[in-house]
Each structure stands twice: as structure tokens, then as C-alpha cells.
């Protein structure tokens, strides 16, 4: 069982960010396999996520466009996930069929 699978809750694909960085192995697995996905219907575009991103990704814009944070700079550091006042950002395993135009080496 991989670290990612072990951290998975019953709702397949969703990871509990509090446990994510417990070990380097888990971190490595996350960096390789997960991205931040939004639940756009819960978003009010308040900007807290973008404000806290250490590499200045406009996370809010991704949410408005209802797309995962595909930005190659994303560290999967979980700052946006943790800070979102409405809890609408989550880590999700990157699906096998990647979004068009996304280079797996960039994740």
C-alpha cells in the first residue's frame, strides 16, 4: 500500500492535508500524484487562497474557472487548502487521464 493510498479517506481520491507531510515518503507521493481541486459552488472569490500562496499562484482564478491548480509552480504546500475559510479546496489524486496540455513532469 502506498503512502497516498493509506492517507485516503473513505471518499476515494480525497486526502486529509493534516496528515500529508508526516513523512517524506508521503510528501513525495503527494507531490507526484496530487493537485489542489476546488468545489467552485462553495467559493465566494474572497482571495484568501491567492493571498497566502507562497509562490503567488492565483488560486482563486483556478476556482473561478472550476479547474484544478495545474500551475507547474505549485508546491502542494497546502497553505491555500488550510486557509480557505470555506474549506472548498482539497487535494485529489491526479487522474490517470491528465488534463489536456498538462505535462506530468511539471507536477
Amino acid at each position: 500500500m502506498t503512502a497516498t493510498a493509506r492517507l485516503t479517506r473513505s471518499d476515494a481520491g480525497t486526502l486529509n492535508h493534516m496528515d500529508l507531510f508526516k513523512t517524506d515518503r508521503a510528501k513525495h507521493a503527494t507531490l507526484a500524484r496530487a493537485w489542489v481541486v476546488p468545489e467552485p459552488s462553495r467559493c465566494v472569490q474572497c482571495g484568501v487562497c491567492s493571498f497566502h500562496c507562497p509562490v503567488r499562484i492565483d488560486v482563486r482564478r483556478h476556482v473561478w474557472l472550476a479547474e484544478p491548480v495545474t500551475d507547474s509552480k505549485c508546491l502542494t504546500c497546502a497553505e491555500c487548502v488550510r486557509r480557505c475559510p470555506r474549506g472548498l479546496l482539497r487535494f485529489q489524486r491526479i487522474p490517470a487521464a491528465m488534463a489536456p496540455g498538462t505535462d506530468p513532469r511539471d507536477i
Binding site: 479517506r9 473513505s10 471518499d11 476515494a12 480525497t14 468545489e39 467552485p40 459552488s41 462553495r42 467559493c43 465566494v44 472569490q45 474572497c46 482571495g47 484568501v48 491567492s50 493571498f51 482563486r60 482564478r61 473561478w64 486557509r83 475559510p85 470555506r86 474549506g87 472548498l88
Partner: protein, 438 residues
């Protein structure tokens, strides 16, 4: 000739309409008319600004280049008249804008308090950026505040002022907070959270008048004659859809502007979206007003599409959902969860849907699931509403089960047993449903 679209209002309904129109018609002339001097920003984000979680400059979702990409003409002025026969809007300056299709998205504004002293300096509200700035400016000098009203806004103000180290008194007319949406235990969780933050809650307390000296607030007097000194009085007793323009134009209005399923008003070339639009429930026919960001975005998209292409896409109401924080506890409210009135508010408040309060006498399941307090309102074959407080893991499955109208026949009886394993039942049903869909 390019079609001319005029959108009145500068909130999310207007912005999503503008984006949709532009995506369908690259030639269209799109003009946004808004009296809001700060333009387009996150109104719900003002609560986080007040609580020092985000700086003011971050509340603006669109950068200048986003507006240029949309090719909008933005007029920062109040529209004072709509002439449906002449297809023209008159602005405060006297300028006249002709239109082919018009969107009314003027939002909803706070109902003022009707007590002696309400005109004093220091009586505040939280409608817009101007109010948030005003509250922040005043909180630097003020020591104490009295908050009256209910729903989300009253608590946003209460918690914002607490985080700015004011002594806050919160008045409630009855025995508990938001009694027509929350259950007794949910109200209690919120009130305990407020008390832990040092808020002084006054149950069964009405504000009779506001006291002042030299035009400034100095205190309040309660219905029973008690006097509480304070520097600020914040009011959040409800909001009213701003339908003056629509009424003056002769459009059919009730609580908001009545629209059909295409979000068209009684005039074929005028649409309404956002807090202003009163939509009919397709099943019951009941008119419904919602003051929710996401509803405004979705309605704006549908209205924009129908403005650009002619009436073709129906607005399908979804189970209204809002997620917020009340006294430090995260809470998601979805579907239909309460009933009746709340004596602390008149009609609807911000972050609120009338649908929430249409609960009949069906069974309700209330349970503690790990770190979450969960309440489910059950229909004959579906979950019709839910409130999740604390840990939000279950709120995502519930959002899909309620939104998808998923049949709960297999677990309905089990859910109603004493000490039912509610979390597992919901998770299993959701997993099964997702598997079935996949």
C-alpha cells in the same frame, strides 16, 4: 450592427453575465453600469477583511487585464431610469444609454433600523466595501459595540469587532440565534462559541432606542429600560432586493423582480439575476429569493446566455448551499432545513435562501459524527436538506446526494434508528452512487 447589452450592477451576477455574453458574441457591446465606487469585489470576503484574514486589495477577483479582455465599458454611475419602450437607460448625469438587451442585477441592501436615534453617527451596517472600511476605521477608537439582527451578517460583524478587541453585546429578541434555520443544539454551539470569544449575549432583548450626545452614539436602551453604554451600533436585520428601477419601469415585481425560467422579466428584453431576481420553483411554483454568491453567478451565466442568444437556456434551481463560519465553527447549510420566521430579521439576510425555511413535518435526524454535528431533513425518498457543523468531511457527499436527488430508500429506515451510524450510512450510499455513476 453589434448588439448592445447594458448590465446594471457590478456584482457577481453582472460579471458572470458579461463573461458569458462575451464568450458567445465577440462583437457585442457590453456596458456595465454600477454605482458601487469600488467596482467588482467579493462582498462575502468583507467578513474576512473585517476579521483581518485578508487585506482589502485582495478582495478584487478581476485584474485590469481581465476587464480589458472582456472588452467592457464600465460606467461608475447610478442608473436612475429604465425606459422599456424606448430601450434606453438614463444615468444620474442625464446620459442616456440605448440597449437591445438589459440585465438588472442591482442586488439587495440592508434594511435600516427603525428606532429613535437610528440616524446618529456610529450606527453602522455591513453592505459594501464602504461599510467595511467605516467599521474598521471606527473600531480603532471604539471600545464597545451593540449588534442587533440575525443570520450570517450579524455574526460576521460581531466576530470582526471581537477580533478588533471591542467589547461586543449581541441582542436577540428570543431565546436563541437564527431559530428558523438552525436547530436548538446548533444555536447553542454557536452561542457557546460566541461566549468563549467574550461576546455578551442578551436573550429576549430588544433595542428600543439609541442614545447619543452631539450627534454621536453613546449607548442603547433596551425594551426593558436597561441602558448599555457603547460607541457603535451595528445593524443586520435583513436585506431588501433593490427593485426601484424595475418597478418604475413597470416590470412585474413581488419581493424581487419576477422572472421566468429564462430569467426574463415581464419585458422581453429585460432580464434580472442575482439577489434581485425572484425565481419560481419549478415544482411548487413558489417565488424564491436568494442572497447567495454562487446563485448570483449561476443566474448571471444563464441570463447572459439568453441575452446573447435569445431565450434558450432555462435556469435550473439547485439546492441552495452556503458554507460559512459561525463563532469559529465551520458550517454548511444546504437544501431545506428550517421553517417559520426569525424575530431578529425581516425577511431575508445576506448569505441566505428562502428555500432553507420551507421544511414540512418530515423526519429529522440529528447526530454527532466524529467532530461534526450533522442534521439531515428527510423527504419520502431523498435527503432534502442538511446542516453540517465542525468537521466538513460529510458535507461534500451530502451536497452531491441532495443536489442529485439521490434515492435513500436503502438507508432511510436505518438513518432514523436511535444511535444510527449516520456517517457510515451516508458515506456508503455516496460511494455506491458515485460508483454507479462512474
Amino acid at each position: 450592427m453589434a448588439s448592445r447589452h447594458v448590465l446594471i450592477g457590478s456584482g457577481p451576477a453582472s460579471m458572470s453575465a458579461a463573461e458569458t455574453i462575451r464568450s458567445l458574441d465577440s462583437e457585442a457591446e457590453i456596458t456595465v453600469v454600477g454605482a458601487e465606487r469600488y467596482g467588482y469585489y467579493s462582498r462575502p470576503g468583507l467578513a474576512y477583511y473585517l476579521a483581518k484574514e485578508v487585506p482589502e486589495g485582495r478582495l478584487f477577483p478581476f485584474a485590469p487585464e481581465d476587464f480589458s479582455r472582456l472588452g467592457l465599458v464600465w460606467i461608475n454611475e447610478r442608473a436612475v431610469k429604465v425606459d422599456p419602450a424606448g430601450h434606453a437607460v438614463t444615468l444620474a448625469s442625464g446620459r442616456v444609454l440605448p440597449y437591445d438587451r438589459l440585465l438588472l442585477a442591482t442586488g439587495a441592501w440592508a434594511i435600516p433600523l427603525d428606532v429613535p436615534g437610528a440616524e446618529l453617527d456610529g450606527v453602522t451596517k455591513l453592505d459594501d466595501m464602504h461599510d467595511a472600511r467605516d467599521l474598521i476605521r471606527r473600531s480603532r477608537r471604539a471600545k464597545s459595540a451593540v449588534v442587533v439582527g440575525g443570520g450570517i451578517t450579524a455574526l460576521e460583524i460581531t466576530e470582526g469587532l471581537c477580533s478588533r478587541r471591542l467589547d461586543v453585546h449581541y441582542f436577540m429578541r428570543k431565546d436563541r440565534y437564527w431559530g428558523n434555520v438552525l436547530s436548538e443544539s446548533e444555536s447553542r454551539i454557536v452561542e457557546e462559541g460566541l461566549a468563549r470569544r467574550g461576546v455578551r449575549i442578551h436573550h429576549f432583548t430588544e433595542l428600543r432606542r439609541i442614545l447619543g450626545a452631539d450627534g454621536q452614539v453613546t449607548g442603547v436602551e433596551t425594551g426593558e429600560g436597561a441602558r448599555i453604554p457603547c460607541d457603535l451600533v451595528a445593524v443586520a436585520i435583513g436585506v431588501l432586493p433593490q427593485k426601484d428601477l424595475a418597478e418604475q419601469a413597470g416590470l412585474v415585481c413581488a419581493r424581487g423582480v419576477l422572472v421566468d425560467q429564462y430569467l426574463g422579466s415581464s419585458d422581453p428584453d429585460i432580464f434580472a439575476a442575482g439577489d434581485l431576481a425572484e425565481v419560481s420553483d419549478p415544482v411548487t411554483g413558489q417565488g424564491t429569493v436568494e442572497v447567495l454568491w454562487n446563485s448570483a453567478v449561476v443566474k448571471g451565466r444563464v441570463a447572459g446566455r439568453n441575452m446573447a442568444l435569445g431565450q434558450g437556456q432555462a435556469y435550473v434551481p439547485v439546492a441552495p448551499l452556503n458554507v460559512t463560519r459561525l463563532a469559529g465553527s465551520r458550517i454548511t447549510i444546504m437544501g431545506t432545513v428550517g421553517s417559520g420566521g426569525d424575530s431578529d430579521v425581516q425577511g431575508i439576510v445576506r448569505g441566505d435562501s428562502e428555500t432553507w425555511r420551507r421544511l414540512g413535518s418530515g423526519p429529522v435526524v440529528e447526530a454527532q459524527v466524529g467532530d461534526a454535528h450533522v442534521r439531515l431533513a428527510l423527504g419520502d425518498s431523498t435527503i432534502i436538506g442538511a446542516v453540517v457543523m465542525g468537521d466538513q468531511s460529510l458535507s461534500f457527499p451530502l451536497q452531491e446526494l441532495i443536489g442529485g436527488g439521490v434515492d435513500i430508500g436503502a438507508i432511510r429506515t436505518d438513518l432514523m434508528q436511535p444511535a444510527a451510524p449516520v456517517g457510515r450510512l451516508i458515506d456508503d450510499l455516496w460511494m455506491g452512487w458515485k460508483g454507479y455513476r462512474a
